[in-house]
Symmetry: C2
Subunit: 175 residues, 2 copies
């Protein structure tokens, strides 16, 4: 689909990037912009039940890559954002699990902001796997209320690959 | 935060809109662009476990507003997208619940694309509430494999209200 809308094009051209130039850093300004985007996501009852850990320590990035499946990208990235739920702000009852939806929306904002800045990233799942959550909590020494949700390695990438078109009109019903 | 990046500004200025001009329609072209954005979201193992129901039928929109808490916006919107999981494409084992994260990322793309088009929308939760899921399934006559996730009323809004800044540096740790 071709549009002349820059924000929609940014959504349509985002891809999962796993291979970074480990020698090319990501500026503090860019990370701050990405975190602003994360916190602009909608949350149920405006609870904002999140905490973001920005990991630049090479040893910690390598340990995350060692501990998690599908997270080899962290070995080559200069920085990763670990999105966490903050259980002190989870809703009661049946709504308790809505933090997962809130963190997912914030994570998508992170990916889109990263792409808008000409960088690349990939969402690697941690939650709901108890073993992965425990490993990340241990590596980052997270307090008990912070529930690691995913790890998003970020870096400079070769921009020559094309996003593939996932549009499928069979996935739509009109009523 | 002020940036000169249009895509990031679009993320930062999005708000939840609940009050629409019911007489101002939303074009087929705009809905198609929004659905393309939805399907550009990342999904675990690229499963794309989704289906989107576009509801324009006034009677159905009113019934959704009647049946769901927090969904009064559907009464004033000319169209709503009901994002559903497709259980035939859910992953096995512990990864089964990842469809919730996938649908959340797609829903955020819907909200951002709507905003980029100068329209407004609001994410109203259905999942994980069994009673709400049953009500939506009944109203829209969904087949059993389609799990209603949320209802997103969309329409033309008065653009004079300002998004509030949710940035909180206390929600970030640097390692």
């Amino acid at each position: 689909m071709n549009t002349d809308n820059q924000s929609i094009d940014n959504i349509l051209t985002r891809t999962s990037d796993r291979c970074f130039d480990v020698n090319a850093g990501v500026s503090e300004t860019d990370i701050t912009a990405v975190l602003h985007a994360a916190m602009a996501a909608p949350t149920a009852v405006n609870k904002r039940p999140w905490h973001f850990v920005v990991v630049r320590d090479r040893r910690l990035l390598d340990r995350l890559a060692d501990a998690l499946p599908y997270c080899q990208a962290a070995r080559k990235s200069p920085v990763a954002i670990v999105a966490c739920g903050d259980s002190r702000r989870f809703l009661p009852g049946d709504d308790a699990s809505l933090w997962v939806q809130d963190l997912s929306a914030a994570s998508e904002n992170i990916l889109l902001a990263v792409h808008a800045l000409g960088l690349g990233a990939v969402w690697t799942s941690v939650y709901p796997h108890a073993d992965r959550m425990e490993a990340v909590s241990d590596i980052l020494s997270l307090p008990v209320e912070r529930k690691p949700f995913n790890v998003i390695p970020i870096g400079h990438v070769d921009r020559t690959h094309k996003p593939f078109d996932k549009w499928d009109p069979g996935c739509v019903t009109y009523l």
